[in-house]
Each structure stands twice: as C-alpha cells, then as structure tokens.
C-alpha cells in the first residue's frame, strides 16, 4: 500500500476518535503500524494472536479508550470465538481493521488467499457483525467515522474490510 494511503487511514482513525490499536501485522496494510506507533495519540499493542487482540481491545474499550484491532482476514477466523463472546454476547464496541485478502479486488490474490477470502464475509454475517468493504481512498474518512459511530451506537464490533487500492 502506498504510504499516502496508510497515512490517510491513520489520520481518519485518529479523527474518528480511535486511540487504542491491538495488532498482528500482515502483508496488505502493514504500512499503518509505524505511523500508528509514531503518532502519540494511539496506544499501540502488538499481540501474538488475533483472539488475544480482541480480548485486549475489549479491556481497553471497557476501560474508556475507543479501540481497534488490526488483523488479516484470517484473523477473523482465528478470533471468531472471542468476537462472539466478548464482542456480541458481552457487547463491547471495537473497530476491526481487516485486510480483506483473497477478495475479488485483492491485487495480490492467488490460490493461497482466494478460499479464505471467499468465506470471510459469510463468517462475519454468521456472527452478525456489521461490515463495510473499502476498495478505494474516496470516502475513506466518512466510512471510518461512520463505522466508529456505529460501534459506539450498537456497543459491538464493526468491521472495515480493506481491499482494492489498499492491497497494491
């Protein structure tokens, strides 16, 4: 992803009020992590597993810091139990910043990614997690702001799936 796009994502997260990010880096959006770390308004926590990211973000969120978890699409599979019991059953607001690998618009798609990509949205639907697909920079700020507003309104996770321009 171009540096300018990464800066735009981080700027929009900050503008929307996100101040805590737990993350497990991956290939599509990883340029955002040094920018997040350098920006003093975020508390940034690397984790060993996306499930852990969800539970740590839940604690941060319930402690008063609007929280996000940045992960690859595969992380939704890995963390689905915690998304269900902490995100939905306990009802914890958090933003999921998901690299939507294996989607039709994924510029690096291959036999490695396509299958998990095909099943990602059905997984989110089965968990009843609201999601929005972003494939270009136009309207990025509004979508991030809207997703954060939604997560506070429903006190549950909301997912942003980044593909297209963000996967170059």
């Amino acid at each position: 992803m171009e540096l300018e796009l990464a800066e735009k994502i981080v700027g929009a997260l900050k503008e929307a009020g996100i101040s805590f990010v737990a993350y497990l880096p991956e290939t599509r959006l990883s340029q955002i992590t040094p920018i997040l770390r350098e920006d003093g308004s975020f508390m940034v926590v690397p984790v060993a597993n996306e499930s852990e990211g969800v539970s740590i973000a839940a604690g941060a969120s319930l402690g008063g810091r609007p929280a996000a978890v940045y992960m690859e699409g595969s992380g939704v599979y890995v963390s689905s139990y915690n998304l269900l019991v902490l995100g939905k059953r306990l009802g914890t607001p958090m933003l999921l910043i998901v690299a939507y690998y294996g989607s039709v618009l994924d510029k690096r798609n291959s036999f490695l990614y396509a299958l998990p990509g095909i099943h990602l949205i059905p997984i989110l639907q089965s968990l009843d997690i609201q999601y929005e697909v972003l494939d270009k920079a136009d309207g990025l700020e509004d979508k991030i702001k809207g997703a954060v507003k939604m997560m506070h309104a429903i006190k549950q996770p909301v997912a942003l799936l980044f593909t297209g321009e963000f996967t170059a």
Partner: protein
C-alpha cells in the same frame, strides 16, 4: 487448599481494584463471596487475562486482578509472551489450578495434571514474578504481596477439585447488565464517560 478458602481471604481485601474473572465454578464462587461493582466476570474461557491486560494498559493507576483457571489459561497461552513483554506493574494474575476440567462433571484432567508447569511457562515468557503455591498460608503471603506491591505478579494456586459452587444460587444478571454495572462503576470512579453513543 480450596479455591473458596483463597477467595474468602481475598474478598475482604477488595476496595477499588478491578477484578476480571473467567468461567468455571470460580465465577459463581467469587461473585457470591465478593459482589463488588468492580467485578467483570466474563463467563468465557480464554478471555479474562486479555481483558485484564487491556484494562491495566488504559488505567495504569488502577490495580487490576485477573482470576484465571488452568483450563482457561491453557486455552489462551498466547497471552503470556505479550504479558511478559508489557510487564504491567498494576496487574496481578491468579490462576486457580485444580488440574481438571471440572465442568465436565467427570473431572477430565487438564495438562497441568501432567507435566505442564504454568508458572514455569510464565517465567519463560518473561514474567519474572511467577510462582506456584500449594498451601493456604503461602497463598495468603503471596496474595498480599500481589495486591500491595507495584509489580506484575503471576500466582499459580494449586487447589483441590471442589464442587461447592454447585450449591450456590446463580445470579440472574445477564452479561450486558453485568457489563453496564462495571462500566458505570468505572465511569463514576474515573470521572469520565466510557460509552460514547448518544441518544
């Protein structure tokens, strides 16, 4: 040593600490002995320690106590390297290790009934103050230190597999109500808004 004896010692020491609990009989037992507004008993395996880490990070001036079990911790061992690296001085972790999955009703043994030493795993992940206690007097000594000192402590408490919690009437408060109670308590004691949605 029984878990209930440990809880009977810990409960009167709770003032403004936040207590995060997992599943199993300990949720029922602790909620009964210490019905504190700062309790967040998440009723799920493998999540309490992560939530405790998140709370301890964003509220560094508050003591956070995590009540885990052997089964729950074994399900989420990935927390330990993160915890070792963060070394949160306001966090105290108690793992009540009865060496069985007692909820199975046939007390199927967990890995800690075999060769797994959870305090050893924690130390190898960089959690320096990780230790195992087997007697109530040692528990009291270590628990007091964990609550008083400003250093990350990880206490594995070897307890008997008991079933006393099955005699305790279960609360009818659902998890959303439980969460609201916890968050409103935090909002009141921290003097800030936590839930930001508006009507």
């Amino acid at each position: 040593m029984k878990r209930s004896e440990c809880f009977e010692f810990l409960a009167p020491l709770i003032t403004d600490q936040l207590v995060i609990g997992s599943l199993s009989g300990q949720r029922v037992e602790w909620g009964h002995l210490c019905p504190h507004e700062g309790n967040l008993l998440v009723a799920s395996m493998g999540a309490a320690l992560g939530i405790g880490v998140g709370l301890a990070l964003v509220l560094p001036h508050r003591k956070v106590i995590v009540l885990e079990s052997d089964g729950s911790l074994l399900l989420s061992l990935y927390n330990l390297p993160t915890l070792g690296n963060l070394s949160l001085s306001n966090l105290a972790v108690f793992v009540f290790d009865n060496e069985v999955y007692s909820g199975t009703r046939i007390s199927e043994p967990s890995a800690t009934a075999g060769k797994t030493d959870l305090a050893g795993v924690a130390r190898s992940c960089g959690i320096e103050q990780a230790t195992t206690v087997r007697e109530i007097d040692s528990f009291k000594r270590e628990a007091e230190k964990a609550l008083e000192e400003n250093v990350l402590r990880f206490l594995v408490c070897k307890v008997a597999a008991t079933t006393g919690h099955r005699q305790i009437e279960r609360p009818n408060e659902d998890l959303w109500e439980h969460k609201y109670r916890f968050v409103r308590y935090l909002e009141r004691t921290e003097g800030k808004k936590i839930f930001l949605g508006r009507g």
